[in-house]
C-alpha cells in the first residue's frame, strides 16, 4: 500500500468565490435584518487523490463549506465544480447521479445513524437508491463493506445502540462508501471519539484513500491530526480562508499571524517541550460573523496589527508557489526571507526551526 502515489495534478473539485449567508429575520413580518456570513467568498481546488485539510475554530465556516460543496446548503453565491461539472446548474436527476460520487462522514456517530435501522439496512440504503441490483448482491456488498471497515459481517442485523462510538463511526464510513464515491467530506470524523479510538479510525480513513483511491476534504479543529492526515491545509477564520499551503510548509513557515497563533495555542503532549515553549495567547474572542470587523478580520486580535489592517481587508495572495496568505504584514512575517521574523519565531518555539 503506497499512499505516496503521484498525484496527477488534476483538480477534482474547484470552489470559486463561494458564499453561504444565513439570513437573520426579526419582527412579525420576519423581515431580513442582516445575514450571518458563515462563508464569505472562498476559493480553492482539491486535487484528485489528495487529502485537503480545512481547519479553524468553531463558527469559522468550515462545516458550512463542506455542506455547501455537497449542495446540502444552497450557496448564496459562487461556483462549485466537481470533475469539471458545475453543480449549481444540474437538474435533480443529474445531481442525484453526481451525489453518488460525493459522500460525507459526519462528526457525531450517535446522531448520524438512524436508531431504527439495523446497521445492514443503513449501509444497504445507498446501494439500493443508486443501483438496481438484486437482494443477494446488496447483501454481499453490505458484508463486504463491513469487512472493509473492520467489522464482522455478523453485525449487519444489529442496531446502532449496540455499538460503541468508534464502531458506529466505522458504520458511518461504510455507509459513505456504499455508493462507491470518489470524494468524501470528512466533517470532524474523530472529534467525538476517545483518544485511543481516534487513531484506529484515522488509520482506516487513510487506508481507504490508498486502497480505493479516494479524495478527501478533511474538516477538523485538531491541528495535530490535520497535520498528520493532510497533503494541503487551508485555515479559515470568520468565513474566509486566511492561509493555504502544503501541510509542512504551513506548520513550519506560516505567513499569517492567525495561523501562527493557532499553532502556538495547541499544547504539545510533552512536558519538557511545553515548559520551554513560548506561546502567543490571543486576547479576546472571535468577532460575531453577523457583524465582522471592517478591515482585516483578524485585526481585533492580531499581535501585529497596524492602522492599515483596521481599514483595508487584505486579499488572499500567492506569496510562494502554492502558499497563499491574506495579511498586510507579510513582510513582517518574512515572505521572501523564508523565515518568520525573530519576534514571532521565538514565540513559535519548537514549531519553527
Amino acid at each position: 500500500m503506497n499512499v505516496n502515489e503521484p498525484l496527477n495534478n488534476k483538480s477534482m473539485l474547484s470552489v470559486k468565490n463561494l458564499k453561504v449567508h444565513f439570513p437573520i429575520r426579526r419582527g412579525i413580518l420576519q423581515r431580513q435584518v442582516g445575514a450571518v456570513r458563515a462563508v464569505d467568498g472562498i476559493t480553492f481546488d482539491i486535487l484528485r487523490g489528495e487529502t485537503f485539510g480545512l481547519v479553524g475554530e468553531s463558527g469559522c465556516g468550515k462545516t458550512t463549506t463542506g455542506r455547501a460543496i455537497l449542495q446540502l446548503y444552497e450557496p448564496t453565491a459562487g461556483e462549485i465544480e466537481f470533475d469539471g461539472v458545475a453543480l449549481a446548474h444540474l437538474d435533480s436527476k443529474s445531481m442525484r447521479d453526481m451525489r453518488k460520487r460525493m459522500q460525507m462522514i459526519f462528526q457525531d456517530p450517535f446522531a448520524s445513524l438512524n436508531p431504527r435501522l439495523s446497521v445492514g439496512a443503513t449501509i444497504a440504503e445507498p446501494i439500493r437508491i443508486h443501483s438496481t441490483v438484486d437482494n443477494q448482491k446488496v447483501q454481499d456488498r453490505v458484508n463486504h463493506l463491513l469487512e472493509v471497515v473492520g467489522l464482522s459481517p455478523d453485525v449487519a442485523s444489529r442496531f446502532p445502540h449496540e455499538f460503541s462510538g468508534g464502531q458506529r463511526q466505522r458504520v458511518g464510513i461504510a455507509r459513505a462508501l456504499a455508493s462507491e464515491p470518489d470524494f468524501i467530506v470528512c466533517d470532524e470524523p474523530i472529534s467525538a471519539l476517545d483518544v485511543s479510538i481516534q487513531a484506529q479510525v484515522v488509520n482506516l480513513i487513510e487506508d481507504l484513500r490508498a486502497d480505493i483511491g479516494l479524495t478527501y476534504l478533511f474538516i477538523g479543529h485538531d491541528l495535530s491530526m490535520i497535520r498528520h492526515i493532510s497533503d494541503r491545509v487551508a485555515v479559515m477564520y470568520l468565513g474566509h480562508i486566511v492561509e493555504l499551503a502544503e501541510t509542512d510548509r504551513l506548520f513550519v513557515n506560516a505567513l499569517n499571524p492567525y495561523t501562527v497563533s493557532l499553532i502556538s495555542a495547541i499544547p504539545v503532549p510533552d512536558p519538557v517541550i511545553e515548559a520551554k515553549r513560548q506561546r502567543i495567547v490571543l486576547q479576546g474572542d472571535v468577532p460575531n460573523p453577523a457583524n465582522p470587523p471592517k478591515g482585516c478580520l483578524f485585526s481585533t486580535r492580531c499581535p501585529l496589527v497596524v492602522d492599515e489592517c483596521r481599514t483595508n481587508r487584505p486579499e488572499l495572495k500567492e506569496w510562494r508557489p502554492g502558499h497563499y496568505a491574506a495579511c498586510h504584514r507579510i513582510d513582517e512575517m518574512g515572505a521572501g526571507k523564508g523565515l518568520p521574523p525573530i519576534s514571532l519565531q521565538q514565540n513559535l518555539g519548537q514549531v519553527s526551526q
Binding site: 503506497n2 499512499v3 505516496n4 487529502t51 475554530e57 468553531s58 460503541s164 468508534g166 464502531q167 476517545d194 483518544v195 485511543s196 479510538i197 481516534q198 487513531a199 484506529q200 484515522v202 488509520n203 487513510e206 479543529h221 491541528l223 495535530s224 491530526m225 490535520i226 497535520r227 498528520h228 492526515i229 497533503d231 501541510t247 509542512d248 506548520f251 497563533s261 493557532l262 499553532i263 502556538s264 495555542a265 495547541i266 499544547p267 504539545v268 503532549p269 510533552d270 512536558p271 519538557v272 517541550i273 511545553e274 506561546r279 495567547v281 490571543l282 486576547q283 474572542d285 472571535v286 486580535r301 519548537q350 514549531v351
Partner: protein
C-alpha cells in the same frame, strides 16, 4: 500523611453505581494525593472514572444510584467521605473550589454573575452583600474580565464561552480555597480560548499557591500544566508519577499506547506513516473483570494478567505503574 505539604490524601476509593443493568464499579480502588501548590493531572478516556473520583471526594455523587463503598479522603486530618452534609457543604468552595466542563450549564441562568460570585462570600465568609459584591469585582478583575464593575450585573448568557469559564473560575476562587478541582475546564472551548484559560490557571496557581487537580482527556493540556500525572483506565490508576517520568518514560502499556497514538503538530509526518493505535476498546464496566482491565488490549499480555489485577508497583521514586510485567520481570518488555 506525615508530609507537611500534603493537603489531600485519598486511599482506596471505591464508588459504585447500581443500575438496572447491574453494578458499575466506576472507581475501583483509587489512591492519590495532592501537595500544596502542585498540579495533579488526572488523564483518561471517557468512562474511566476520573470525574467520578473527584466528585466522590466532595460527596457530589447522586445516591441512588451512586454509592461510595470504600476509601478515605483526608483533607488535613478530616475525612471528607465521613463528613455530614453541612460539613461537606462548607468544604466545597471554602476549602475546595470546583470548575466544570460546560460553563453554561454550571452557572445559574437567572442570577446575575455578581450574585453568583458573591453568594459563597456571604454564606461562608460572613460578608454583607455590598462587601461581597465589591469583592466580586476584584475577583472578576483577577480572572481577566474587562469592565468588571459593570459586568457584575450581567447574566451568564451575555458572556461568551471563554468569559463564562472565567466567571466559573472567579466563583471557585471566591473563598480563596487551597485546592481547586478543574474537571475538563477547556474541553468545550476553542483552542485560542483554551490557551487563555490555561494561561490564567497557570498564573493563579503561582500567585495564589493553590493545589490543583486537573482532570482532562487531553494529554497536551496535562503536559502544559501538571507537575504530577495519574493515568486512569477502567476505574483504576494504572500509572502515576512526575509529568517528566510519565511522558518521558511511560511504563504502563496503556500510557505508552496513548502517547504513541497521538499525532504531533510540532513534528513532520510523512503521509505514508500510520498512527500506532491501541486495538480494541475499553471494557464494559458492567462486566466483572477478573484480571488486569487492560489485558484484552495489551500486546504484552500473559497468563497472570487474565486472572489477577495488578496493584501499583513502584518503579523508582514516585513513579509507579500497575503492570504484572514490571512486577514479574526485571527486563524490558518484548513480544515473543
Amino acid at each position: 500523611m506525615n508530609d507537611v505539604n500534603r493537603v489531600l490524601q485519598v486511599d482506596g476509593l471505591r464508588t459504585e453505581f447500581h443500575t438496572l443493568g447491574g453494578v458499575v464499579r466506576a472507581v475501583n480502588g483509587v489512591s492519590f494525593h495532592l501537595d500544596r501548590g502542585e498540579v495533579l493531572g488526572v488523564v483518561g478516556e471517557s468512562g474511566c472514572g476520573k470525574s467520578v473520583s473527584v466528585m466522590s471526594l466532595l460527596q457530589l455523587i447522586p445516591n441512588p444510584p451512586g454509592r461510595i463503598v470504600d476509601g478515605t479522603a483526608f483533607l488535613g486530618d478530616r475525612d471528607l467521605l465521613a463528613m455530614s452534609q453541612s460539613e461537606i457543604r462548607k468544604v466545597r468552595s471554602v476549602e475546595i473550589g470546583m470548575i466544570f466542563q460546560d460553563p453554561m450549564t454550571s452557572l445559574n441562568p437567572v442570577l446575575t454573575i455578581g450574585t453568583q460570585i458573591a453568594e459563597p462570600l456571604v454564606e461562608h465568609k460572613e460578608m454583607s452583600w455590598n462587601e461581597a459584591l465589591d469583592a466580586s469585582i476584584e475577583l472578576l478583575d483577577k480572572v481577566g474580565i474587562p469592565d468588571a464593575a459593570e459586568r457584575i450585573n450581567d447574566y451568564p448568557h451575555q458572556f461568551s464561552g471563554g468569559m463564562r469559564q472565567r466567571v466559573m473560575i472567579a466563583i471557585a476562587l471566591a473563598c480563596a480555597p487551597p485546592i481547586l478541582i478543574a474537571d475538563e475546564p477547556t474541553t468545550a472551548l476553542d483552542v485560542t480560548i483554551q490557551a487563555q484559560i490555561l494561561e490564567l490557571l497557570n498564573d493563579l496557581r503561582h500567585s495564589e499557591g493553590m493545589g490543583m487537580i486537573l482532570i482532562t482527556h487531553d494529554l497536551g493540556v496535562i503536559a502544559r500544566l501538571a507537575d504530577r500525572v495519574a493515568v486512569m483506565y477502567a476505574g483504576q490508576v494504572v500509572e502515576t508519577g512526575s509529568a517528566e517520568d510519565v511522558y518521558g518514560n511511560p511504563s504502563h502499556p496503556y500510557t505508552q499506547g496513548l502517547l504513541e497514538s497521538l499525532p504531533r503538530h510540532d513534528q513532520e509526518h510523512s503521509s505514508s506513516e500510520r498512527l500506532t493505535s491501541i486495538d480494541g476498546q475499553p471494557p464494559n464496566m458492567l462486566d466483572p473483570i477478573a484480571g488486569c482491565p487492560f489485558a484484552e488490549r495489551c500486546k504484552y499480555v500473559f497468563d497472570r494478567c487474565k486472572s489477577e489485577n495488578p496493584n501499583l508497583f513502584v518503579l523508582n521514586g514516585n513513579h509507579s505503574a500497575a503492570c504484572w510485567w514490571d512486577i514479574e520481570n526485571e527486563c524490558e518488555r518484548t513480544i515473543e
